[in-house]
């Protein structure tokens, strides 16, 4: 045995170790490259000039987002996880409070017809900006930046938030503090563009070179946007962590805001682990999106280290009822507008299906205080209708009686009813793969069995089900099933856009490449006319009336069976103060500058 051979072995080992060392160095390099804000902006917390008050003296705030942000440019990602992380840095002109009221953020006030901000003809809106707002790099925030944000989004194909500028004809800077937004058509609700954390303002100076196809390549900018918010990026690790320093140029700095000097967003694990970390182990101050079995959550909350908060907005878990015929024998006419479902369009059937469901039990099993039973598309005040509330009580006998009266009898004695021409009431019921949905599916199947309706359950991976792949037969848009269950919500507290999802124009068919939002293919001239009226009505009371009518129309026509009014659920450590109600309409961090810690 020669010593050299052993040396060779050690050389190999050393190489491996050296590779590890290189990895470390490399990581350090890219970290620096990925966070230009650190080097360009005022540097470390300790060196920052004392701007009065106690801004930034509260230590670190740790936020758990088990799905971590993949970028910090909210205009390139529509995912809530990225929008949330960016909302600490960037501000819109106005945002919503937890009750769905508009609050001025970078705007001096909310423009209305009364104060002259909204034109009488409802064709334009003029935003007045707050005075003296600075970007975190110390430069002044002006109307030009607002204009640039619009230019950026409309000229960049990757911009996921371009929907916020639909109907916007132009955005102009009247002067340094006034922005005029002109619309293509009459716009009774002009607060979409530049409102909420989904449509924040970015800085022209930073992003000027990043418009268009080059947007995605601007990694440094996308990972370290300069903002007007309470915090600025110190270090960003993709899909892992974001470390923020407080922004000494923040407009609330004179009042000692924000309280926390640094914020850490930490990703990884799952909802259950985040909940445990905040509520049981006290490792973090906040845990986001805790879709956890209510029994488990309640058990964790009992430890006493933190509380769970629910923020309701417009999310409704619903069963969409296919109005067209999904029978595979129809070939390419399957689920196409023009075909008619053999029995689901009969009022007796869909009413019976809805009556048979014990919504409270669905809530208890899957949602706990993150949900409440509902019978409406739009469950939140002031637009919520009360006309359909009978569905809140389960009524198996009533449902059976309804089906008996309509002539659906079990003629062959297999426990399943048939239609007059002998088609059994057999329903293919699809949803995305998710433990809560599967347990609800199982329950609904057992209710429907009690009224003589047979159900086959199918679950599809969420990435396929919600993916827009037109070649896939399993997306929720294609809807090759009799009913399907999922949650949808309105992006805005104003229901106009959302309610357009049941108009004939939105009906999904090959001619629209499965685009459009009318999943059940519901079509009614009455509904279309009423929605048309909504788009031209400025008066709020009349708008509320119309929305209620629209809601009742779509429910009573059986295009969908609403089940659960869902809330966003997050956990907070007991020591965190100033959060208030959880904001379901906007960023859950919308008032982070007011959060403090008490011991």
């Amino acid at each position: 045995m020669k010593r050299t051979k052993w040396l060779a072995l050690f050389a190999v080992l050393a190489l491996v170790l050296a590779a590890c060392g290189d990895g470390d160095d490399g990581a350090a390099d890219t970290t620096e490259a990925g966070a230009p804000a650190t080097t360009e902006g005022p540097t470390a917390t300790t060196e920052a000039p004392d701007t009065g008050g106690t801004a930034g003296q509260g230590g670190q705030l740790t936020l758990l987002q088990w799905q971590a942000p993949s970028t910090l440019n909210p205009l390139l990602s529509g995912g809530t996880k990225e929008l949330l992380a960016a909302s600490l840095i960037l501000d819109p002109l106005a945002e919503y409070d937890p009750d769905g009221n508009l609050v001025a953020t970078l705007a001096a006030e909310i423009p209305t017809v009364e104060n002259g901000g909204v034109a009488e003809d409802l064709m334009s809106i003029t935003w007045t900006l707050k005075d003296g707002v600075l970007w975190s790099d110390g430069s002044a925030f002006t109307a030009d930046d607002v204009v640039f944000t619009w230019e950026y989004c409309t000229n960049t194909p990757d911009c996921t938030q371009s929907g916020f500028f639909t109907g916007v004809a132009s955005v102009e800077a009247v002067d340094a503090t006034h922005v005029l937004v002109t619309f293509d058509a009459l716009t009774p609700f002009p607060y979409n563009a530049f409102v909420t954390f989904q449509s924040p303002i970015i800085q022209r100076a930073q992003f000027a070179e990043c418009v268009g196809a080059s947007a995605a390549a601007c990694t440094d900018e996308n990972f370290g946007p300069i903002g007007t918010g309470a915090y600025m990026v110190n270090d960003f690790k993709v899909n892992d962590t974001v470390l923020y320093d407080y922004n000494p140029n923040f407009r609330g700095a004179a009042d000692g805001k924000p309280f926390f000097g640094t914020v850490l967003i930490k990703g990884g694990g799952d909802a259950e682990a985040s909940a445990r970390s905040v509520l049981v182990l006290g490792e973090a101050d906040y845990g986001w999106n805790l879709q956890v079995d209510p029994i488990v959550l309640a058990d964790m909350e009992a430890t006493g280290l933190g509380i769970v908060k629910a923020g309701f907005a417009s999310s409704v878990e619903r069963i969409m009822v296919n109005q067209t015929d999904p029978n595979p024998d129809l070939g390419d006419q399957r689920s196409e507008p023009g075909t008619v479902h053999p029995f689901l369009t009969d009022p007796a059937v869909y009413q019976a299906l809805s009556m048979a469901i014990n919504r409270q039990e669905l809530v208890d099993v899957g949602y706990g205080f993150a949900g409440s039973p509902t019978c409406n598309v739009w469950p939140g005040a002031p637009y919520a209708s009360t006309a359909n509330d009978a569905c809140l009580t389960q009524d198996i006998d009533g449902a059976n009686a309804l089906l008996d009266a309509a002539g659906y009898e079990d003629t062959d004695g297999d426990g399943i009813r048939e239609t007059a021409d002998g088609t059994p009431l057999f329903i293919l019921y699809q949803t995305s793969t998710n433990a809560v949905r599967q347990s609800n599916q199982d329950l609904v199947k057992s209710y429907w069995a009690q009224i003589g309706v047979d159900t086959e359950l199918k679950n599809i991976d969420a990435s396929v089900f919600f993916g827009g792949d037109q070649a896939s037969p399993d997306t929720y848009q294609v809807f090759y099933a009799d009913v399907e269950m999922y949650t949808n919500n309105s992006g805005s507290p104003d229901p106009q856009t959302y309610m357009s999802n049941w108009t004939t124009a939105q009906v999904i068919s090959p001619s629209t490449n499965f685009g459009g939002g009318n999943i059940p293919r519901y079509s009614s001239a009455e509904y279309d006319a009423l929605h048309e009226e909504l788009t031209t009505t400025g008066d709020l009371d009349r708008r509320i009336e119309i929305v209620k009518e629209l809601n009742d129309l779509v429910i009573q026509a059986g295009a969908m069976i609403p089940l659960i009014y869902r809330a966003d659920v997050s956990a907070f450590a007991n020591s965190i103060q100033g959060v208030g109600t959880l904001n379901g309409w906007d960023s859950e961090y919308w008032n982070v500058e007011d959060w403090t810690r008490s011991e």
Binding site: E272, V292, D293, I295, V296, D299, E361, D364, V365, T433, A435, Q438, S439, D442, L443, S446, L457, K458, N459, I460, D461, S463, V464, D474
Partner: protein, 312 residues
């Protein structure tokens, strides 16, 4: 050394015994196998687990799929020996059905893996023309990152197969095929090595020289002689397949939530570990026990089939 002396005595015992009566190879193997304590305990355990999984559900009265929310998350009791889950389903019934699936996956995937492995091994060892290409193919398969690929493939084919064969059978076929098709390479290598050595031995050369056809040489002379490594590979294959299946299900990417396997049960029960710990412990313990048993059996087989050890 004491042990050496004992061995010598044992060998003498054997000689006396063998001169007394004729012993077939397999009875010899069985005799040796019985001496391996671990292997015997493993065999008994595995029999019990298999019995519980395949016969148990026929005897046990409770339905593993019956939901009853009034009975949710109960601790073990006489009615529910392992408690209930969050939807009030009986955990013991689910564990038994889960075992049936996990074990079936293990055995079926092993059969596929071993058949492919043995075939490739024998062909490439026996027919030198095919050796190069088959071994390069084997190397290629060995270089494929299996776990990441499994994850991707399962996402890919889950729904089409579900469509074609129904929810249960579709996923079963998918998981079994994938694990089988990606786990034959070691068997192939070992078998090929043995065949290469066997090919040069006198009895094979003799068989050739008396004009035996290639097929009969392979089946009558080569195949019986590579059986021992194949059997060992088979035992280990079952263990690997069970672990792989449960790992996939544990990542939430194997069997779906309406399809209980041990891995899936463990995955679903994670969140409830402080409320109903039995839900986590039982599937975990059963996976571990099964794999330990199978591995011990593999060890026992290896020792029993190794002529060097057997003669001791």
């Amino acid at each position: 050394m004491a042990t050496t002396r004992e061995r010598v005595e044992e060998t003498q015992d054997h000689t006396i015994e063998s001169s007394e009566k004729y012993r077939s190879l397999w009875s010899d193997v069985w005799r040796q196998f019985r001496r391996h304590k671990g292997a015997m305990v493993g065999l008994i355990l595995l029999t019990v687990i298999m019995f519980g999984s395949f016969i148990g559900p026929l005897i046990y009265p409770l339905d593993p799929f019956a939901i009853d929310t009034s009975q949710a998350s109960l601790s073990p009791s006489l009615d529910h020996p392992m408690g209930t889950d969050n939807l009030g389903r009986d955990v013991m019934a689910r564990v038994m059905v889960g075992g049936r699936i996990s074990l079936s996956v293990g055995i079926a995937a092993m059969v596929i893996g071993v058949v492919i492995g043995t075939a490739v091994g024998i062909i490439s060892g026996f027919f030198s023309k095919l050796d190069g290409i088959l071994m390069r193919g084997t190397d290629m398969f060995l270089a494929l990152p299996i776990l990441p690929l499994l994850l991707v493939i399962i996402m890919l084919f889950r729904d089409p197969l579900r469509e074609a064969f129904g929810p249960e059978l579709g996923i079963f076929i998918l998981v079994v095929t994938i694990i089988g098709v990606t786990s034959w390479m070691q068997t192939a290598r070992v078998v090929r090595g043995d065949v290469l050595a066997l090919k040069e031995q006198e009895f094979v050369l003799a068989a050739h020289s008396i004009g035996s056809r290639k097929r009969s040489v392979v089946f009558r002379h080569i195949f019986p002689n590579v059986l021992s490594p194949v059997m060992v590979a088979a035992a280990l294959g079952v263990a690997i397949a069970i672990i792989t299946e449960s790992a996939l299900s544990f990542l939430g990417l194997g069997f779906p939530s309406d399809f209980p396997t041990w891995g899936r049960l463990l995955f679903d029960a994670q969140g409830y570990i402080t409320i109903t710990p039995m839900r986590v412990l039982w599937p975990g313990i059963l996976i571990s026990l099964t794999v330990i048993s199978v591995n011990f059996i593999g060890d026992g087989l290896r020792d029993a089939l190794d002529p060097k050890l057997r003669s001791q």
